[in-house]
């Protein structure tokens, strides 16, 4: 199964790449969860929720071509249900368009009928990423706050 998510963000490829790979910036729009890696090709990465102390996801950086392309294997770890879905693949592609960037996230190699939790968070993540890069602010809709900071009990 394959899922495609696309968004236009008024920023440069370099800033967008930084927002995707920097743990602190990432946590601002990714349900409060950053990502730790040295970002060399073939390296591993891991996402741990800082408040709840729960492993959220892990995998390998299969292709790393800053600031245009990142291919990662992805294993969701936030619940027993999603752990059972195995490993899928996430491809980030950044394409400059005028004064903006087209960011496409392709989440594929998902099992048929995969649990929608695996890919259902992408629209909210990408919307928060756009808000962060275009306004410097974090998205404050109640839904986006549910899993970060004070709302971390939702993970447990």
């Amino acid at each position: 199964m394959e899922k495609v998510f696309e968004i236009y963000i008024k920023t440069t490829p370099e800033r967008l790449w930084e927002a995707i790979t920097d743990p602190e910036l990432r946590a601002k729009y990714n349900f409060g969860v950053g990502v730790d890696s040295d970002w060399s090709p073939g390296s591993s990465y891991e996402s741990v929720h800082p408040a709840a102390g729960i492993k959220i996801a892990a995998g390998e950086n299969l292709e790393v071509e800053p600031p245009r392309r990142l291919v990662q294997s992805f294993t969701a770890l936030w619940s027993d249900d999603v752990k059972g879905e195995g490993t899928s693949r996430v491809t980030w592609e950044i394409e400059p368009v005028g004064d903006s960037c087209q960011l496409t996230v392709t989440h594929d190699q998902l099992p048929e009928g995969a649990n929608s939790e695996l890919f259902g968070g992408w629209p909210m993540i990408l919307s928060g990423l756009k808000t962060l890069l275009e306004t410097g602010e974090e998205l404050t809709t109640p839904g986006s706050l549910r899993y970060s900071g004070a709302g971390a009990e939702e993970w447990s």
Partner: protein, 103 residues
């Protein structure tokens, strides 16, 4: 954002999105088979959805597959829906947590 509202303001286009939500990555022929409409009609609606960014296409060999891109709907939600509707949901879910904590 006008294009997104315009694209969503048609029942056939909303059913096309529902079709792709159920089963993503369909060809034009598959979608045509599911709707009481000519191939030309389906193509016309798909083009409006593509222009609004709600449908993305990918080539697979000789086939063109159509994928639902839900991100523009999320942007509409974050800008236009959550402000008006979500505080209630958030307040109620907060109340629920408080009550359950006390048990």
């Amino acid at each position: 954002m006008d294009e997104v509202f315009k694209a969503l303001a048609d029942p056939t286009r909303r059913s096309l999105l529902d079709e792709l939500f159920e089963r993503d990555g369909q060809t034009l022929s598959e979608l045509e088979g599911r709707l009481p409409m000519t191939r030309f009609g389906v193509m016309k609606h798909l083009r409006v959805l593509e222009e609004a960014g709600l449908v993305k296409t990918r080539k697979r060999g000789r086939e063109k597959l159509h994928f639902l891109n839900p991100v523009p709907i999320r942007l509409v939600h974050d800008r236009w829906v959550s402000k008006y509707a979500e505080p209630w949901t958030a307040a109620l879910s907060g109340l629920k947590q408080e009550l359950e904590k006390e048990e």
